[in-house]
């Protein structure tokens, strides 16, 4: 019984006894509670005893538990990055050593035997670097990307093949903060070529996902207002909610269904003119499409329009996906005929033809490429608008050319194409379209051709930038007779000189420009319909340490001083890149340190807050014990004397 107010009047003994019992019970309970608080250090034992403190406590406990995971991930990340850094340091040293070997091997005063010895040392160095690149730590090959369970670099003859991928393995180190705890083989060693890739402008199809629109950025769908006024029936306005649409087909379905009860009705399809946007055609009259409540749904779909007979939507720029049809590329014009065409892929000594006649989708194309068995990497480029095909083999030349059609160019993956920059040809050495004369003045270096009719011409190439411009310059000399074009098979420039009469040899004089364009040579047959076929002067090679070392070994064996001097520059660049890369890893390690410091600070702060809300204040407990004890004692004393007092004692 709780102790309430007493009314004036009689006070039965039973009442005073029960009040005493209850006050004793309350005080002993309070004492017990204080004792429990002192014993456990907890302020409360059930959340309801102090709901606000308990809720904070629960939240703080959760945060502490979660932060503990981050510290654990952080430790793992650090050990992996430190191991990667150490392996890269080894490679950096090997590169410095390679540079010394280049210097030692350059010049006329080095004998062939010495060069062979140096080449042997380079071979050993290469194996050492491959060993470092195949470092394994905590059960992971550090430089394989996500393919971490097999050695990522494999020496195959004179090439080094990268078998990993380019995935950054993200790991959480704080709430909402992640960091890659690996360096993939491409980032670390540039074990693959930089992929040739062009925007192939995939056309919109009904199956295109909304999330793939606008270059993969997608858009947020909601309600739009569509009004159709056919001039006959009353104008119909419908607010159409597109939020549930996942594909372009869904938008079509929902919009058409909204007007299904017409007339007037509505038809939605892909605009056949642009093939990149929607077309909305009312059954008659005009359609008006507007956004509702300031949203940007119709605008983002490119269909916001005032009253128009046909609404032609804007370019929705869909992402290229594995399911994109090859026929939908290049704004729906496709990649040209695939019968008796396809791709011609050259990698080192291997030349493979890829037949695309059965390929419908991008994935089919990839499967066809995969079937060549060549060590290639293929996928969608980072911008999501083109294909990216790269060679994984360091030390081998790689090229994708046509096989009689336009497929490679249509796919945007031809390694030697009209818009290839002259400066990029020959591994970046370019084409010397101008040179300095004896006085040091810049003069043009012309392309010199002896035509089939015996005349000599010189074509000025000064100021030209691309392969197509060179072709155009040649074609301008004698239009329709002297015709330059890209090789129908493979890569390079072909020149045809057919005036219908002359049958002399067609000669491109061997000078620096002609060599650099791959054109130097003679077509000595009598048939003027046979062109002079140039060679591919834009072979792709990985640029990394393996490419340098394999090239170095070959150059030392062949005593190629020109290549050695170029390798010297490449080695310098690679050493600089390695320093930058190690700096970047150092930056990540520093971030880990910073975050760890912050996590430790957080931990202390959280513990402190937790203690404030959850821990019993011992001083307070002890003080209250003293007070409660005094109260208990007083109650007992008063009760003892009070209960003894009775009239019967005095009768």
């Amino acid at each position: 019984m709780s102790i309430g107010p007493l009314l004036p009047g009689r006070l039965p003994n039973s009442l005073s006894a029960s009040r005493l019992t209850s006050s004793l019970r309350q005080t002993t309970q309070a004492m017990q509670r204080l004792q429990d608080q002192a014993a456990t250090g907890q302020k409360f034992f059930l959340p309801s005893e102090s709901p606000t403190d308990a809720i904070r406590t629960i939240f703080l406990q959760k945060t502490l538990e979660r932060k503990a995971h981050f510290r654990q991930s952080l430790a793992t990340d650090r050990s992996l990055l430190v191991a990667s850094e150490a392996a890269l340091a080894d490679v950096g040293e090997a590169l410095s050593r390679a540079k010394a070997l280049i210097l030692a091997g350059t010049g006329d005063n080095v004998s062939d035997a010495e060069r062979d010895a140096l080449a042997v040392e380079v071979g050993a160095l290469l194996r050492q670097v491959v060993g470092a690149a195949n470092s394994k730590f905590r059960g992971r090959y550090l430089f394989g990307g996500s393919a971490s369970q097999q050695a990522p670099f494999d020496i195959q003859g004179s090439t080094v093949v990268y078998r990993g991928d380019r995935q950054a393995l993200q790991s959480f180190i704080d709430a909402g903060l992640s960091i890659a705890n690996n360096v993939d083989g491409q980032q670390a060693f540039r074990g693959m070529t930089a992929p040739i890739s062009k925007d192939v402008d995939p056309a919109l199809s009904l199956d295109t996902r909304i999330a793939d629109l606008h270059g993969g950025r997608g858009l947020v769908l909601g309600e739009i207002a569509v009004t159709v006024d056919d001039g006959v029936n009353p104008a119909a306005t419908r607010n159409v909610d597109l939020a549930g649409a996942r594909t372009i087909r869904d938008i079509k379905t929902v919009l058409e269904a909204a007007f299904a009860g017409g007339p007037p009705t509505l038809a939605v399809d892909i605009d056949p003119a642009s093939r990149s946007g929607l077309r909305i055609t009312p059954s008659g009259g005009t359609a008006t499409i507007a956004d509702v409540n300031g949203a940007r749904v119709a605008a983002d779909l490119g269909i916001a329009a005032a009253a128009q007979a046909v609404v032609n939507g804007g370019d929705l720029d869909p992402f290229l996906t594995l399911q994109t049809n090859l026929a939908d590329l290049n704004g729906g014009t496709g990649i040209g005929a695939t019968a008796a065409a396809g791709l011609r892929i050259v990698l080192g000594n291997a030349t493979k033809t890829v037949d695309l006649s059965a390929a419908t989708t991008v994935e089919d194309l990839f499967n066809a490429i995969r079937q060549t068995g060549l060590p290639l990497d293929f996928g969608i480029n980072d911008a999501g608008n083109g294909l990216a095909i790269a060679s994984r083999a360091s030390g081998a030349d790689f090229a994708i050319g046509e096989n009689g059609g336009t497929n490679a160019a249509g796919l945007g993956i031809r390694t030697f194409d009209g818009d290839t920059l002259l400066a990029d040809l020959n591994g970046g050495l370019g084409v010397p379209v101008e040179r300095r004369d004896e006085n040091g003045d810049l003069i043009s270096a012309p392309l010199e051709i002896t035509r089939r009719d015996g005349s000599d011409i010189a074509i000025e190439l000064q100021g030209l930038r691309t392969v197509q411009e060179v072709i155009d310059a040649i074609n301008a000399v004698d239009p329709g007779v002297l015709v330059a074009s890209q090789n129908a098979v493979g890569n390079g420039i072909s020149i045809l000189d057919d005036d219908g009469v002359s049958a002399g040899p067609l000669i491109v004089n061997d000078n620096d420009v002609a060599t650099a364009l791959g054109l130097a040579g003679t077509e000595s047959g009598n048939d003027p319909a046979v062109p002079l076929v140039g060679s591919d002067v834009n072979p792709q090679r990985p640029a990394g340490v393996f490419a340098i070392l394999t090239a170095l070994e070959a150059a030392l064996r062949s005593g190629d001083d020109r290549t050695l001097s170029r390798l010297d520059d490449l080695a310098d660049a690679e050493i600089a890149r390695f320093s930058a890369l190690r700096g970047e890893i150092g930056g990540r390690l520093q971030l880990l340190d910073n975050v760890e410091g912050r996590l430790l600070d957080d931990d202390i702060r959280l513990q402190e807050a937790l203690s404030r809300h959850f821990d019993a204040d011992l001083t307070e407990v002890v003080t209250r014990v003293a007070a409660t004890q005094a109260a208990l004692q007083a109650t007992l004393q008063i009760a003892a004397s009070n209960q003894q007092l009775n009239l019967f004692n005095f009768l």
Partner: protein, 564 residues
């Protein structure tokens, strides 16, 4: 009439004083009897008579022995009793619930969830580790086990409360019976009585019974002139004269446990819903604990489906050669979101990749799940047909309504980009199985082969892109939980229970104080004060002595008269 009259008066006085002493004795004897109502001898001056011009008194007369009780106060106490008992029972149940949740300790669900998430974080950092994959599975098994254990503990409490309902109903029935019997006895005993409270002890027994009954049920009593009381609960009678109505229980199954509901035997009313301990028991069992079970079911369903939705779009380090869904559709021909699946898919699509295990050549197909409600929507049969149409893949619906997919020999398959939730809803490439807190478990396929933990999205063994998403699954808004995340759903659940429990405790304390103040008033009015009784005893003693003195005096007067 002179001396004889005076003697008679004095003689009656002696009797009266003796009676008074007897009443005092009764009061003192029962001073510590719980519920005892003190009695008081009602005395009045006897009828006078006239003789000539004089009117003489004839002494004092015992009118009767009256219980000192305030029946209006008694009614208020009954109301206060039932209100307090409801609140007290509820707060006790809340405390039990808080104890089984154990949120402030180490073995609670949030710690289990955090350990599970921690294991996923570890896997994100080192996705190639088979050991960490296994730990993810083990932590998930433990977490699912903790949810089931919590559910079982709540079930146990609910079963226990049903037992308590039974015993409380039995007690109430005994009390109703007792009041009915006492009614008869009191009526018979008091039919010749002077006052309407002569049968004191029996009345005390009846008051005690009513007091206890008012704690169990919210009751109202009316005393009728023959001394019996009629007892009502709401508009139904429990006791009407010597007729009584009993409480009866009926069994039913609610949220996986057998419960007993209470009704009246004659009128069939849901009498227990009016208040009292019984109401607290039923409300605590069905609304408080039942409500928690519902919330826990939602939480478990949220965990299962949200995790599965992400998981179903990922790839493990092995692909499937065949798989059978874990969830069954009641009607494979019905539209998928009305086919009786435990989780409803939505409009969207998913991708399935068929890979030639030898050459690595892959073919990806997008399977549309059309559930936009326009035109023909996708049923499980449609889905099966679409999958079956893919080269090197066969799909079937088992007789119990599960989707089964198998690849041709030498082929494997994997899933990706499920925007529809159909895979998760069919239990294909899922991590958790079950539908609620009593059935949640880790998918047996994943449990047997931890390489099926879909950490990647089709890359190498260290592909952790899906694990990165899985690690954040508890922070994503869940449509299943009304748009809040699993984390905040759980937090608000615990917060709600803590606050409701605290307010229930406050209500109980408040009602207890009110009831106690009423009890204290009753005690003050009806309790026995020894000092007071001692005073009365002295009064009667003196009265007896004085009366005896008068008799002696009259005796002397008679002597004098006789000796004349």
């Amino acid at each position: 009439m002179g001396l004889n009259a005076a003697l008679a008066t004095a003689g009656r006085s002696l009797e009266l004083a003796t009676t008074g002493i007897q009443v005092v004795g009764q009061n003192i004897a029962n001073a510590n009897t719980p519920g005892y109502i003190r009695e008081e001898l009602q005395i009045a001056a006897n009828l006078p008579y006239s003789q000539g011009t004089l009117i003489f008194g004839t002494g004092a007369l015992a009118l009767g022995i009256r219980q000192q009780i305030d029946t209006f106060l008694e009614s208020r106490i009954h109301t206060a009793n039932s209100e307090f008992e409801t609140a007290d029972m509820l707060q006790a149940i809340y405390k039990q619930l808080e104890t089984v949740i154990g949120e402030l300790g180490e073995g609670d669900l949030s710690t289990g969830l955090n350990r599970f998430l921690g294991a996923i974080h570890d896997l994100v950092a080192e996705p190639e580790s088979d050991a960490l994959r296994q730990i993810v599975v083990e932590q998930a098994v433990q977490f699912a086990g903790e949810i089931v254990a919590l559910r079982n503990r709540v079930n146990e409490i609910r079963t226990g409360l049903t037992g308590q309902v039974d015993s409380t109903v039995a007690e109430a029935n005994r009390l109703i019976q007792q009041v009915g019997e006492l009614n008869g006895q009191i009526t018979r005993l008091e039919s010749a009585g002077l006052l309407q409270s002569d049968a004191g002890a029996l009345r005390t027994q009846r008051y005690v019974a009513l007091d206890r009954l008012s704690k169990i049920l919210s009751i109202r009593f009316v005393e009728v002139p023959d001394g019996s009381v009629n007892v009502f609960a709401g508009s139904d009678y429990l006791v009407l004269g010597d007729r009584t109505q009993q409480l009866v229980t009926a069994s039913s199954v609610d949220r996986g446990v057998v419960i007993h509901t209470v009704t009246l035997s004659e009128t069939g009313s849901d009498v227990a819903r009016h208040g009292g301990q019984l109401f607290g028991l039923l409300e605590g069992r069905d609304a408080v604990l039942g409500g928690f079970v519902d919330a826990l079911d939602s939480f478990a369903a949220g965990v299962i489906h949200e995790f599965n939705r992400i998981h179903a779009s990922g790839e493990g380090s092995s692909r499937f050669q065949s798989i059978t869904g874990t969830y069954r559709a009641v009607d494979p021909a019905a539209v998928l979101n009305e086919a009786g699946l435990p989780f409803a898919p939505e409009h969207g699509s998913f991708r399935i990749k068929v890979v030639n295990a030898t050459t690595g050549l892959a073919e990806t197909h997008t399977i549309a799940v059309d559930l936009d409600g326009i035109g023909a929507d996708t049923s499980l049969d449609d889905l099966r047909a679409a999958l079956d149409g893919i080269a090197n893949l066969s799909a079937s619906v088992t007789t119990d309504g599960r989707l089964a997919i198998a690849a041709a020999s030498g082929y494997e398959f994997a899933f990706a980009d499920d925007t529809s939730g159909a895979l998760a809803a069919l239990g294909i490439n899922t991590f958790f199985g079950g539908t609620d807190s009593s059935t949640i478990a880790v998918d047996p396929l994943v449990r047997q082969n931890f390489r099926m933990v879909a950490a990647g999205q089709g890359g190498g063994p260290s592909d952790n892109r899906n694990a990165v998403r899985l690690a954040q699954f508890s922070e994503n808004a869940s449509a299943l939980l009304g748009g809040v995340s699993i984390d905040s759903f759980y937090e608000s659940l615990i917060t709600r229970i803590a606050q409701e429990s605290a307010s229930q405790t406050a209500i109980a304390t408040g009602r207890e104080g009110f009831r106690d103040s009423l009890l204290s008033q009753r005690d003050q009015f009806s309790g026995v004060s020894l000092d007071e009784e001692a005073m009365k005893m002295l009064e009667f003693q003196r009265a007896y002595q004085a009366s005896a003195r008068i008799i002696t005096t009259i005796d002397e007067l008679f002597q004098t008269l006789l000796n004349m």
